[in-house]
Symmetry: C2
Subunit: 326 residues, 2 copies
Amino acid sequence: MTTIKDVAKHAGVSVATVSRVINAIGYVHEDTRRKVEDAVRELNYTPNEVARSLYKRKSRLIGLLLPDITNPYFPQLARGVEDRMQESGFRLIFGNSDESKEKEKDYIQTFIQNNVVGLISSTNDPDSSAYASLNLPVVFLDRIASDRPSVYADGREGGRLAAEALVERGSKRITILQGPEHIRTAQDRFRGAAELLEGKAIDYHIVHTASFAFADAEKWARQLFKQHPDTDGVIASNDIVATAVLHEALRLGKKVPHDVQIVGFDDIPLSSLLSPALSTIRQPAYDMGRAAAELLIAFVEGTPVVNRTIQMPVAFVERDTTRKML
Amino acid sequence: MTTIKDVAKHAGVSVATVSRVINAIGYVHEDTRRKVEDAVRELNYTPNEVARSLYKRKSRLIGLLLPDITNPYFPQLARGVEDRMQESGFRLIFGNSDESKEKEKDYIQTFIQNNVVGLISSTNDPDSSAYASLNLPVVFLDRIASDRPSVYADGREGGRLAAEALVERGSKRITILQGPEHIRTAQDRFRGAAELLEGKAIDYHIVHTASFAFADAEKWARQLFKQHPDTDGVIASNDIVATAVLHEALRLGKKVPHDVQIVGFDDIPLSSLLSPALSTIRQPAYDMGRAAAELLIAFVEGTPVVNRTIQMPVAFVERDTTRKML
DNA sequence: TGTATGTCTGTAACCGGTTACACATTGAGG
DNA sequence: CCTCAATGTGTAACCGGTTACAGACATACA
């Protein structure tokens, strides 16, 4: 690899001068600058980021920690983060945490060891000491942290919208699948839906669920229709679970949306491709990723930040698992 | 941050000794070792990877370059890579190339600047100079490079299996959606299918497609049924395209699989969730990711490697877009 | 003419590790 | 008791950048 010394020798100047040229800092004579630039070009030189990072104690790397990139919701978040970071010349060190504190700690550890300048995380426990003790800017994505920077969607409004959609379209006996208790955003959705139904004095039941995995979701779907066979409206905790419910309903010979209406949450790409296509509450995942990146960059670069927590809007996406309104 | 100097002072030894203890290299007296270990624990010290990387000119970082993590096929590859790398203590710098040579070069550049020890890439042009001139181990994933390490699925056999499945199940007028011409694996699938149909002297048509994106796929699906309305069997270049074809067929009022049979390629998670569920040729994406990581690790660590190119088996997954055989 | 200021450049210390080398100590074997 | 190898430890150079500082020179101004 060619180093700054090679360039210096080739251009007949000192390394300090080369450094000044590359970073466009301090005084450099026009002629000298040209000589150095020529040398850089001829030797095809690019500075070693590691050496830079060592001296400055700062890299151009950002840590990104997601539960599981295989879950169709997260690639969009990741892509949003990546695109925005890329625009400002930051690169991502990426890890799947599988919601394991152990793995999370491990990753945070190596992030620090690699001098990352910031961290974006979708952890279930933003208030854990692992984050509090970090003297690095951290942005929580799709998660809510008390009093720490975060970007998330308005789950409560989403829950409300889902419930409202079902009620308006005539569901009388609604079942809410309550998402994992340890995920605050999931609980917000649940709360929003429950509040609206309470307000309208509509009868509803709750089925508890503990994860967002499809394999588990099938189990809860079966349980749902066994416990509440006369349900005519289901609010699922996300689109994966909604898909499982849809499948189970069809398997039981129910007509969707005639016999049962179903509303999901997230609007993952899959949702529009199902038959019938899934009605759902859309979260702007890609934009949330971008927003989180934007926020982190502001912290890293010391730009003043007005809103440290950003709540993104949600919207009801009407497809074919809810009845058409006249 | 606590450095090796702090530990040395705290333990009353030199930095060299601390280094020896951490790396378990050279002679260190038992008592000294304990003192150092205590100091490490008390100060909660972890070595700075950047400094290490600078001296050794090698990091514990691997570059991973995928076209687009948002495409549901790639997260599984990525996850396979990540899991295997994680087991050996390597971390990933991740980038989306969008099949753009520009972005690819950019990423490769910064990978090198960050002293990555290896690179896994799903590029469309493995033989480009950008890779040839690299003096880094590179493994091509889901792509075929002439004479360079790569991991991919047996596309030709896959194409053959797809065609065979349709023929066995009675399709007489088959249309093959030929995938993007610049993607070798896609062409292999096409070739495999065409060969089998030639062999059986079955009439078939070809519709050209240029990408794997869903929006485009819908267009080709419409074109397909317009140009060949009597088609009773479709071999799609991947599951995304197959999904679009399925939608279009249903929209046109065709019964699937009675009127038209459809076979996809990849077996992305979506496929089993469609109604009717998609019959497809399964590629073991997760395992391919793992295999690529495994191969790269062997190169990095200098382990002798017997097979530099690994072809993974494919299998026909029978679901509901093909007729049941008796 | 003397001094201050601005321009230009190089030397060397520094970032936090690793390791070559020198040196001291110990124990075994003759 | 001497020699030699094995063991244990520290000093300092090195990785490839950045930057504080000093010195040289030119120009402006009193």
